[in-house]
Symmetry: C2
């Protein structure tokens, strides 16, 4: 019997690579996505394609509504920043940060893992080529593991062996490194979507943080960029 893991799957480049890794490790993958009030549904379609391709044991989409709180360019009527200079050292967290989103996603993953008796939760955060979100950093992940240890039946009754591990295999990789890893694993990045502000037909804008990081990643990895950009993306 294979071990069970919960994999947070947005349909983007990172989480799809994470899914490929968990599959390669032999886990029976339970993939978890969210319809959280994001501006577009292309990423959920990409998540469903990835779930099918990797033959996950189950794919659950939780419906939550972070628009009720607002406060982010991804969930409220705030413009997505374009052509930011990501090389410039800049301590401020951009408006695309969704308050506490990864805390919420991990909390749901923890609930499902506990019901399944799964010890491993995969999340595709990375702390190198990223937009400066606080909830993508190793110290945040470590703190969440403590919450898992202290707040669940498995943590209390299961002892050392029962502890939930938040697996972040990409956390120390650059975007180019993630793409190189994904290529080894056979990930088809045409099937993934990263853009914060796609055209109505799903074409990537080419200018938001996510597009910039992704485009540069392919260039640095020496891999031709399979992303379908919107005609106006330039």
């Amino acid at each position: 019997m294979s071990l069970t893991a919960v994999v947070l799957l947005s349909g983007g480049l990172d989480s799809t690579t994470c899914l490929a890794l968990a599959t390669r490790e032999g886990f029976a993958v339970h993939a978890l996505s969210f319809r959280y009030g994001q501006r577009h549904a292309f990423e959920l379609a990409a998540a469903a394609r990835a779930a099918a391709r990797y033959k996950v044991a189950r794919h659950v989409i939780q419906d939550i509504d972070l628009r009720l709180f607002g406060g982010s360019a991804l969930t409220a009527d705030i413009a997505i920043p374009k052509d930011r200079d990501l090389a410039r050292p800049d301590a401020s967290i951009p408006v695309t940060y969704v308050p506490a989103r990864n805390t919420i996603f991990l909390a749901f993953a923890l609930a499902w893992a506990e019901v399944l008796g799964a010890r491993d939760i995969f999340i595709g955060v990375n702390a190198l080529d990223y937009s400066g979100y606080p909830d993508c950093r190793p110290e945040f992940i470590a703190a969440f593991e403590e919450v898992a240890r202290l707040g669940t039946r498995a943590g209390v009754e299961g002892g050392e062996d029962g502890r939930t591990r938040i697996r972040t295999p990409l956390i120390g990789l650059t975007k180019a490194g993630i793409i190189a890893l994904g290529r080894e694993l056979g990930v088809d990045y045409r099937d993934t979507t990263s853009c914060y502000d796609p055209a109505p037909d799903g074409g990537a804008c080419g200018h938001c943080d996510a597009c910039q990081l992704r485009r540069r990643g392919f260039a640095e990895a020496g891999v031709s960029d399979p992303t379908r950009y919107a005609p106006a993306a330039g």
Copy 2:
């Protein structure tokens, strides 16, 4: 301008007392409830009554579906235990425990608090007269505060003053102590509901853990129990 707080409000005895306390402290209260797939909606009706009575600034009900995961007598087709001997030392966590529920609730509260710029989140957990849920203990709450500190913009950019505080004013009180405190604050406990397994008309069963703890609390506080029990409750 009054300070803003997020109060987790189930409509039960504990969270309603918490709401009364936060109101007394002068906070502009933003009350947060969940339709999470629980077996009955009486508690949401009670939450709405409490929100109206205490004139909260806003009451949001998040719709989430923990039945997709199952694993608890409160969200799946598992019988609610009746007449458990709660005085017996018993290390096992009962089937009414909902995996990671408080982690999920606090994660949403954290998201809202961050958007509002609120520093205080109230949750009515108590660790004395309770059912042995791991996510009601002080060490769990402390771990969650670390997640809040490391995973949010306020924690990263706000420094010491920006830190979210998870306020648990009831955590060291017995149920009788909570009731005595609520009486001082003018809480009308007729308006609250605690039963895990109410009759179709909302009458309390009198025999589940929640009913037992509540009934004993009123007795120990020397306060007549205003709970409306179902005719068969005995």
